[in-house]
């Protein structure tokens, strides 16, 4: 148990050391992974814990990106306010859409989430005055790192480029969000969500108001997706309508499945693997989607628990075998 608790801080430290490798490209990739990890984990609150498959999770990601982007670029609001606003708007949006979605089940639920996401996309695409329409909104400013740069400029270990300061900030904020999400899924509230996933009818009969809990999960997932979107807009140096497009929703769903929706860190692993594979394979072949398709088919049939599930099974087996050997040896 204690050994497991060390993983989080260990990964956090490793992530903070990435810029020290000295490659701008690695830092860029790592930043991408970290933000998508939060996005995918927020989706997993719905898919993995509550048993609700959303096909439109990009809506809240997109809303968050536009909110932070518009506030920072057009209204010069500081990051410290503009970023939380992404979460608030993501949650508000999820509250309105979720109110209708949780009244449906299974595929109807999924289709309605998709429909709402496409509405968000259409609004972003067409509302030229606010969102820049089709052209999107380039040149979102970085948060103001002025004082750190002034202080850090004179200290050797603290002098980095702005993109790197932003990376450090992202890692710390995402770590805080993941910590909060982890608390949520281990809480009594989280346990109630798993009873809904396991058996919604029975959950009603232990006194769980299923729709209300589903809506609460939907809103929380929307809030964290919004926060991920807020960071992504800045990282991407621009916000574009395709942030809310269905392909983004499917991408994050694939990450969640690939990494394993049965575990808390599965979706983060999915984000890491998908982004790395994408980088690596694209440089070898133009048939990247074909490779991804094959990987997914193998995983879904062979290891329905995703990468995290497969690793868990293998480690469990080795451990048992080692223990068995010990017993025989003794």
């Amino acid at each position: 148990m204690r050994a497991r608790a060390l993983w989080g801080p260990l990964v956090l430290v490793a992530a903070l050391l990435v810029p020290a490798l000295g490659s701008r490209f690695y830092t860029f990739l790592a930043n991408d992974v970290v933000i998508w990890a939060l996005f995918a984990t927020s989706l997993n609150l719905l898919v993995g814990y509550t048993g609700l498959v959303s096909f439109g999770h990009a809506a809240y990601f997109g809303v968050g990106a536009y909110v932070t982007g518009i506030l920072m670029k057009k209204l010069a609001v500081p990051f410290i306010l503009a970023w939380p606003a992404a979460g608030v708007f993501g949650a508000a949006c999820a509250l309105v859409f979720g109110f209708f979605c949780v009244r449906l089940t299974r595929i109807y639920f999924a289709m309605l989430t998709l429909a709402f996401a496409q509405i968000v996309w259409a609004i972003c695409f067409k509302w030229n005055e606010l969102t820049g329409g089709e052209q999107g909104m380039p040149e979102i400013p970085y948060p103001d790192f002025g004082w750190i740069e002034r202080v850090g400029g004179s200290v050797p270990l603290l002098s980095w480029r702005t993109a790197e300061y932003f990376y450090f900030l992202t890692v710390l904020l995402v770590a805080a969000c993941l910590w909060a999400l982890h608390r949520i899924v281990s809480s009594p509230f989280g346990r109630m969500l798993t009873t809904i996933r396991e058996n919604a009818e029975r959950a009603e009969f232990i006194g769980v108001n299923v729709r209300r809990y589903e809506l609460a999960a939907f809103v929380l997932a929307g809030a964290f997706a919004g926060l991920a979107g807020g960071l992504f807009g800045i990282f991407n140096r621009g916000v574009f309508p395709d942030f809310a497009y269905w392909t983004k929703s499917s991408e994050v769903l694939i990450m969640t499945l690939l990494g394993g929706m049965g575990t808390f860190f599965g979706p983060s692993i999915g984000a890491l693997v998908l982004i790395l594979l994408n980088q690596q394979i694209v440089s070898y072949t133009e048939y990247w989607p074909l490779v991804l398709g094959v990987v997914l088919v193998v995983l879904l049939f062979g290891f329905p628990g995703g990468i995290a599930g497969a690793v868990g099974t293998i480690v469990g087996r080795l451990f048992r075998r080692a223990r068995g050997a010990e017993v025989r040896g003794a």
Binding site: I184, R191, M192, E198, N199, R202, E204, F205, I206
Partner: protein, 245 residues
């Protein structure tokens, strides 16, 4: 006291329950029997708010609870189990019962405390009384059929119900398992002073523990009384003799 008055439910012209009334006085053990398709499960679903009756009402201690949502009925002290085993298959036995405690004690809105250690003692005590404490760490889906039925009873009991409705608590069990399960249920019901209403196929079991028996046939009550009264009833003999195999 649970009062059921004149409940009617029609599915596409088929009268599943056609005007059923019955009383379950506080602390009593009552059985509902009847051949397959007599409307027992539908009646249960009407009482527990799973289905909305076309007519009639259900009162709990004088309060009208007709057709209210299951999660609200739970809070008023009505627990139930299902004919088809109904548990949380991929949670452990411990987590199953603990979830019922968490929900019932209103802790579900808590987002920040680890759930792991809450209501540990209560959960283990309850598992002890239903004979599952040794299996606490097992995934519920791996329990035997009888074990899952016991677990379901545990889920219902964690809600500290005043009224407990059990729909065929021994369905699919062997004769020995059935007897043990029924003994367990009767003991717990007496210990806790529960108002118990259950449906059951095994007549021997029914007559051995019930104080009142209601006989349903084609959606209607054809007899209602003490075991002796029901045993002597002409209509009951006709229905049961007609389908004895």
């Amino acid at each position: 006291m649970l009062e059921v008055r004149d409940l009617v439910k029609v599915f596409d012209g088929f009268v599943a329950v056609g005007g059923v009334s019955l009383d379950a006085p506080t602390g009593s053990i009552g059985a509902i029997i009847g051949p397959n398709g007599a409307g027992k499960t539908t009646l249960f679903n009407l009482i527990t708010g799973h289905l909305r009756p076309d007519r009639g009402h259900v009162k709990l201690n004088g309060r009208d609870v007709t057709g209210i949502a299951p999660h609200d009925l739970c809070r008023l002290g009505v627990g139930r189990s299902f004919q088809r085993t109904n548990i949380f298959p991929r949670l452990t036995v411990f987590q199953n019962v603990q979830a019922a405690f968490l929900s019932h004690r209103g802790r579900g809105g808590n987002l920040m405390t680890p759930a792991e250690r809450l209501y540990r003692d209560e959960t283990l005590a309850l598992l002890e009384s239903i004979g599952l404490v040794d299996r606490a760490g097992e995934v519920a889906a791996f329990l035997s059929h009888g074990g899952q039925k016991q677990l379901e009873l545990g889920l219902a009991l964690a809600l500290e119900p005043a009224v407990l409705l059990l729909d065929e608590p021994t369905a699919g069990m062997s004769a020995t398992e059935t007897r043990e399960a029924i003994r367990l249920i009767a003991r717990i019901a007496r210990e806790r002073g529960l108002t118990l209403l259950f449906t059951e196929h095994d007549m021997e079991v029914v007559f051995s523990i019930s104080e009142r028996i209601t006989v349903l046939h084609q959606g209607r009550v054809i007899a209602n009384g003490t075991p002796d009264e029901v045993r002597r009833d002409e209509a009951v003999r006709r229905v049961y003799l007609g389908e004895r195999h």
